[in-house]
């Protein structure tokens, strides 16, 4: 049994905080629905709130940041990552 951090988003669903990354002074939260492992979401901290991203460019940029940070878990090998899923 693991202790994890959760947030409840505006849609009422509860998400596990999978990772948190600071990028250009903004903290991004990478979330996965606690009841559905294919339901991911990303939010950024804004004061005391979590808000959605501005556009696709921001989404893809912060996804790249996530990939780069976590890549070494799989030794940077995309094929091996896919095979491990």
């Amino acid at each position: 049994m693991k202790e994890l951090e959760f947030v409840t988003l505006e849609n009422g669903n509860e998400y596990i905080i999978l990772d948190e990354i600071d990028d250009n002074g903004i903290k991004y939260l990478y979330l996965v629905n606690s009841g559905n492992s294919s339901d991911f979401a990303i939010r950024k901290e804004f004061g005391n709130e979590l808000i959605g991203l501005d556009n696709k460019a921001e989404l893809n940029r912060v996804l790249d940041v996530f990939v780069k940070k976590n890549y070494e878990l799989f030794n940077g090998d995309v094929d091996k990552i896919i095979n491990n899923i």
Binding site: E3, D19, S38, L50, G52, V67, N70
Partner: protein, 204 residues
């Protein structure tokens, strides 16, 4: 998983994440839970979604528009470019596959992990003239362990680990680290892509 599955996850992620109307209090709570899937697996899943999502957006566009974007930036810091790892990797993989083909190395099989196993030895690869070692990581992404080791032997190293250690790609324990190599590779490849002549970039 089928690529379609990742694409669907990406689409859900996009729908879930974009929109300034999405707001909620940053109220966190801690709970002890039993996960059906490990956090490592979930992280791996999001990595693949990120890479595939990125390719959906970027590689489905005219690839040379991406080259243009890379040309438009003025430094070699990969983090700041805004293009994805897959752009760099796919470009490098294409170059190395073409190089092997041009030298007549066409006797290969594809193993279960989708890597190419070339039926050649280090002596065979010695006929390659002036191989640019910055592309060695690209080759590493294409071929199996046997092939990469034979290839690095042709460059004068004992094997891949020997190459990594001699080039200071080592972890905190002094062991060969492909991760350190990856970071250096991305930077070097970014420079290469940045230096592509515009006309060459558009006609390839």
């Amino acid at each position: 998983m089928d690529k379609k599955v990742y694409e669907n996850i990406y689409n859900v992620l996009e729908k879930n994440s974009i929109g300034n109307e999405k707001k909620c209090p940053n109220n966190r709570k801690k709970k002890k839970v039993i996960l059906k899937i490990s956090l490592g697996m979930l992280t791996g899943l999001l990595i693949v979604v990120g890479i595939i999502g990125s390719s959906l957006i970027k590689l489905n566009n005219n690839y040379y528009e991406q080259i243009q974007q890379i040309e438009d930036v003025d430094n070699n810091d990969v983090e700041r470019y805004g293009y994805s790892i897959i752009n760099i990797q796919e470009y490098g993989k294409l170059i190395t596959k073409n190089m092997l083909k041009e030298y007549g190395f066409d006797n290969y099989t594809i193993n279960d992990d989708n890597y190419r196993h070339y039926n050649y030895t280090s002596d065979d690869y010695k006929k390659i003239i002036n191989f640019d070692e910055r592309y060695l990581y690209s080759l590493y992404l294409v071929v199996d362990d046997y092939t990469i080791n034979e290839f690095t032997k042709s460059l004068g190293y004992k094997d891949l680990d020997d190459y990594l250690i001699k080039n200071n790609y080592i972890d905190d324990e002094g062991k060969a680290s492909t991760y350190k190599w990856l970071i250096d590779y991305l930077r070097e490849m970014a420079k290469i892509m940045n230096d592509l002549p515009k006309e060459e970039g558009r006609t390839k």
